[in-house]
Every structure is written in structure tokens, then in C-alpha cells.
């Protein structure tokens, strides 16, 4: 993960939290076509409003606290929460994080980060979603992994 992310929330990071943030950012970039929301087509509400709605719903935060300059750490969001938040943002906005966010310290930073992702998506000629089928290994490695567990070093496992 980038040092910038670490430093932006460094007061609340220890090794464990770093790990949580890493995993939140590095994974989950596949399709979410079945996740219920995340159409990304909702243009009637601002990014800030939609982010606010997530934070109110999932973290029981008071909407009045969620000013642009409010710092995430002051809102009680540690790095684990932020990792989870990024996951939820991908769902809600239908975006995909292809790189680590940098300098996310305040509510406004998150809004800006989302807007950049939305802009990148709309300017791209490629679809931002991977197709559902791309999650299936093309080399059929799933099937080979399945068959491989029935033996250990060539010795069949008892069934």
C-alpha cells in the first residue's frame, strides 16, 4: 500500500490496522453485478449525499457531523472501517479501485476520491466492470484445484 495512505491516518495505525486497510484496498475488485446496488447511474443525488447516507446507515454517524472538513479519525473511523467503507463505496457507486487511494483524511477527501473514480470510469472507453465470466479462471484451475485436494504427495486421502 502507499505510504501516503499510511501517513494520512498514521495516528491510528498499527501493524494490524495497516493489514486491515491493505486487504480492503487490494481485494474485491471484481464484478459486483449482483450486489443489489452500485448502479452508478444515480445522478440525482450528489456524491457527498450518497457518501453521507452510507456513513449514517453503516456507522450510525450523525449527518451533521459529516462536514467536508470532518476528519475520518475524528468520526471514529479507524483503518478497518475505512477498508470496509471503500468496499461499500465500490458497491454504491459502481466503481472499481484500480489503485490505492491517497491522502484520504477528511470527508471531502473521500468525496473527491469517488468523483475521480467516477470521472475515470466515464472517460474510459472500456467498461469499468469486469464481466461476470472473468472471475472464472480460464485455465480451469478451479477444477484442477478440486482434484488436487484428494491426494497429498500422491497419497490418496481417506474418504
Amino acid at each position: 500500500m502507499s505510504n501516503a495512505v499510511s501517513s494520512s491516518i498514521n495516528n491510528h495505525l498499527d501493524m494490524g490496522l495497516n493489514m486491515g486497510l491493505d486487504s480492503g484496498l487490494d481485494m474485491g475488485l471484481g464484478n459486483d453485478l449482483d450486489m443489489g446496488h452500485g448502479s452508478g447511474m444515480n445522478t440525482g443525488t450528489s456524491t457527498a449525499d450518497r457518501l453521507r447516507a452510507i456513513l449514517v446507515k453503516d456507522y450510525k454517524l450523525n449527518p451533521e457531523q459529516l462536514t467536508p472538513e470532518a476528519r475520518l479519525v475524528d468520526l471514529g473511523l479507524d483503518s478497518l472501517c475505512i477498508a470496509e467503507l471503500m468496499f461499500n463505496i465500490e458497491d454504491e457507486f459502481g466503481v472499481e479501485m484500480t489503485s490505492d487511494p491517497t491522502q484520504i483524511a477528511t470527508f471531502a477527501d473521500v468525496v473527491q476520491f469517488i468523483d475521480e473514480l467516477l470521472a475515470a470510469r466515464s472517460s474510459s472507453c472500456l467498461p469499468s466492470y469486469r464481466s461476470a465470466s472473468s472471475a472464472v479462471p480460464e485455465d480451469n484451475s478451479y477444477a484442477s484445484a478440486q482434484s488436487s485436494v484428494s491426494t497429498v504427495n500422491g497419497v490418496p486421502l481417506a474418504t
Binding site: G28, L29, G30, N31, D32, M35, K57, Y59, Y142
Partner: protein, 411 residues
């Protein structure tokens, strides 16, 4: 060696949410086993379970609720209840010498099952960021430690169906030997996912459905027993030195006298008379009591063909001719098999049996089995029969046999 008092009881289990609820249900023989309400229940040969009525939202903020697997929800709430019951304040010195000892057989298996559904069922890569923290086996114990700032050892034991008894025994050891001032110990389990139900079914260990009354499907020691029914829940107790409990005027629920371990090495699942008898003898030795002092037993009593006959033979081996005069209760008939938590729930039921001087019934025992010919207190509780000193047996796949010895506080 110090005497060890049990001063707090906390339960979240199929029989109820307090010691009195649980005891009342056990005394009355009210079964919590039901047909399983699960969207995929139709895929099970015998869709049965003993579930807990539990709404995590009543106990946790949304963020915490998402971060903890159900197994941790149960453990944290049961610990909360145990500490509330014990009403003990810890000094900073004691906090540094306070430990958590928790048994779980399957950890956060519901979260893992859910993630596998995402990965393989939906072919999606969107595994939740909290999965590691939900799934890891030590999460329930860790959350108890965090919530109560318990700074001593925080240990998780996973020896399948004896996990909680091992946790209780290991906690007892440390308190008895002066290594700890307070311990919270017990077990938690939340195994009712389709994945684990199918896995237990595939082992041919689960009871078939009693078509007349599904709640009677688990029939320990009965000739027509067909296996166990999975249950979920947590039971935890607060252990502290007897003198400390007396000094602070605590209500003492009973005394944990000692515990014995042995290991079956003949087979990964097949129990042995030798192994179970050895664990019982080890418990007597640890407790410093003679076999004649044991007044009643809470059996492992899973209602599998193998366990119940072997357990019967092991009890005969240790107690000889007197075995048939010892009331033996198999309470899994009504609360199901809580796997890594079951030893703790049965320990609690044993404490309450002693406290209330009632031998709890073994329900659904209608058909005597020549191989199971002891006094199982069939179908009706027996007032005045629990006596003063009990054993609580827990035996496990993997072979770790653990037996706890306990005594009523009033003696």
C-alpha cells in the same frame, strides 16, 4: 492449590438466556430442537437444529455487528452476562492477572461459509474486508478480552467436542495454582451453516427426524438413537479463588474441583472405553476425590451409537457395581450438540443441578438398550438426586477426552 469458585454464569443458548431459564427448561425436559429454518433446509436429509433466539442488533452497534461473526456475538454477550452475574470489579493488579479461556470447534465458520458462497457460488471476488477477523478462531476470546480489558492470557482451545471443557479445565489449573486471580472460561459455537450441516450429515453422525415429534429426534442412551443434533450458543463462567469470592461476599454457584484429560489414539473418531475411563480417573485424581464421592454425572451422551455404549462401559469401568446407582443425565437430548461450546453449557447445567439438588432428565429415552443399562434419569427430573459432587464428561473427535469435577457450594 487454591479452591476455585464459580461466581458468574452467562449463557446464550437454545434453552434460554439466563441460568434460571436454562435450568427450568432442562428440569422440565423442554426440547429446543426444531426443524431447521434455513433457506436450504430442503437440501438436508434431516433438517434439525437447536438454534438460539438472538438478534445481534440488540447487543451491538451496526459496525461491531458486521465485524463479529455470530460465534463472537454469542461469546461477547455470554461473557457480559457472566461478569454481570459475578458483579466483580477488577483492580488494575487483578486485570493484569485476569484471563480468557475459550473453546470453539469451528470458529467463525458462518462467515467463511458466506465467503465461499460469494467466491464459488456467485463467482465473485468481492470477499468482505472483515473476513479474516470474523473467521479466525481466537476472535471470540479476543473480543471478550477487549471488552473487559483482561490483560492476562487470552487462549482459545479447539479440541472439537471437548473444547469448552478443556478451556474450563485449563482456566481452573491457572486459578488453582495461583497464576491468575480471575478467569472467564467456557465455549462458543455457531455452526449452523449449510456447509457444516452438510459436512456433519456426510459423516453420518446426525439424528434422523422423529416424524411424530421432531423435537424428540435426539435420543441419548435409547436403543433407537440415531445420532446428534447440532446446536449453537455460548456458555461462560467466571472463576476466581474461593477466598476472594468469600471476601467480597460473592454468590458462589459451585466449585470447580479439578479436571482430567486423556487421549484416544486408536482412531480419529472411534471412542474407547480405556480412554474415557482414563479421563474420568484423571479428573478424580486432579480433584483429590475418590470414586465413591461422585454422586451424579452429566454424560457426553451424544446419542450416537458409538458414544453412548462406550461411555456406559467407561462409567462401569471406573465405578464398578456402584455405576448403576449413579444418576446420569444426557442433556444434549434437548439443547443439541453445541460442539466446542457444549462442555461449558453442560458444566453450567451440572452446577445448576447441584445448586437445585435435582438430577436432570435424559429426555426421549423410551427404548432401553442392553448396552446402555445404567440409570440415565429417563424423561423425568429427579428431585434430591444430584447429590454433592458431579462429573461432566466431554469426549471428542480427535480423541481429546476431558472430564470436569465440580461440587455444590453449599457443602
Amino acid at each position: 492449590m487454591r479452591r476455585v469458585a464459580v461466581t458468574g454464569i452467562g449463557v446464550v443458548c437454545p434453552l434460554g438466556h439466563s441460568a434460571s431459564e436454562v435450568f427450568d427448561a432442562a428440569r422440565a425436559g423442554r426440547s429446543a430442537i426444531q426443524r431447521l429454518a434455513h433457506p436450504a433446509a430442503h437440501r438436508l436429509t434431516a433438517p434439525l437444529a437447536a438454534s438460539v433466539q438472538f438478534d445481534a442488533a440488540e447487543h451491538f452497534e451496526p459496525q461491531q455487528q458486521r465485524l463479529l461473526d455470530r460465534v463472537s456475538h454469542f461469546a461477547v454477550v455470554a461473557a457480559e452476562r457472566a461478569f454481570a452475574d459475578a458483579a466483580c470489579e477488577l483492580t488494575p493488579f487483578e486485570r493484569a492477572r485476569a484471563g480468557v479461556f475459550l473453546g470453539t470447534g469451528m470458529g467463525g465458520s458462518l462467515s467463511l461459509d458466506d465467503a465461499y458462497q460469494t467466491l464459488y457460488g456467485e463467482q465473485s471476488n468481492r470477499v468482505k474486508p472483515m473476513l479474516i477477523l470474523q473467521g479466525m478462531y481466537n476472535a471470540p476470546a479476543a473480543w471478550i478480552g477487549i471488552k473487559h480489558a483482561l490483560l492476562g492470557p487470552n487462549l482459545t482451545y479447539s479440541t472439537a467436542c471437548s473444547s469448552a471443557s478443556v478451556a474450563l479445565g485449563e482456566a481452573w489449573l491457572r486459578v488453582a495454582h495461583g497464576m491468575l486471580e480471575v478467569a472467564i472460561a467456557g465455549g462458543s459455537e455457531a455452526p449452523l451453516s449449510l456447509g457444516s450441516l452438510k459436512a456433519w450429515e456426510a459423516m453420518h453422525t446426525l439424528a434422523s427426524v422423529d416424524s411424530d415429534d421432531p423435537s424428540t429426534s435426539c435420543k441419548p442412551f435409547s436403543k433407537n438413537r440415531s445420532g446428534m443434533v447440532l446446536g449453537e450458543g455460548a456458555a461462560l463462567v467466571v472463576l476466581e479463588p474461593w477466598e476472594r469470592a468469600l471476601a467480597r461476599g460473592a454468590t458462589i454457584h459451585g466449585e470447580l474441583l479439578g479436571y482430567g484429560l486423556s487421549t484416544d489414539t486408536g482412531h480419529i473418531t472411534r471412542p474407547s472405553v480405556d480412554g474415557q475411563a482414563a479421563a474420568i480417573v484423571a479428573a478424580l485424581t486432579s480433584a483429590g476425590i475418590r470414586a465413591e464421592e461422585v454422586d451424579s454425572i452429566n454424560a457426553h451422551g451424544t446419542a450416537t451409537q458409538a458414544n453412548d455404549s462406550v461411555e456406559t462401559a467407561a462409567i462401569k469401568r471406573v465405578f464398578g457395581a456402584r455405576a448403576s446407582r449413579i444418576p446420569i443425565s444426557a442433556t444434549k437430548a434437548i439443547h443439541g450438540h453445541l460442539l466446542g461450546a457444549t462442555g461449558a453449557l453442560e458444566f453450567v447445567l451440572s452446577l445448576l443441578a447441584l445448586k437445585n439438588a435435582v438430577a436432570l432428565p435424559t429426555m426421549h429415552l423410551q427404548m432401553p438398550d442392553p448396552e446402555c443399562d445404567l440409570d440415565y434419569v429417563p424423561n423425568t427430573a429427579r428431585a434430591g438426586a444430584a447429590g454433592r459432587t458431579m462429573l461432566s464428561n466431554s469426549f471428542a473427535f480427535g480423541g481429546t477426552n476431558a472430564v470436569l469435577a465440580l461440587r455444590a457450594a453449599a457443602f
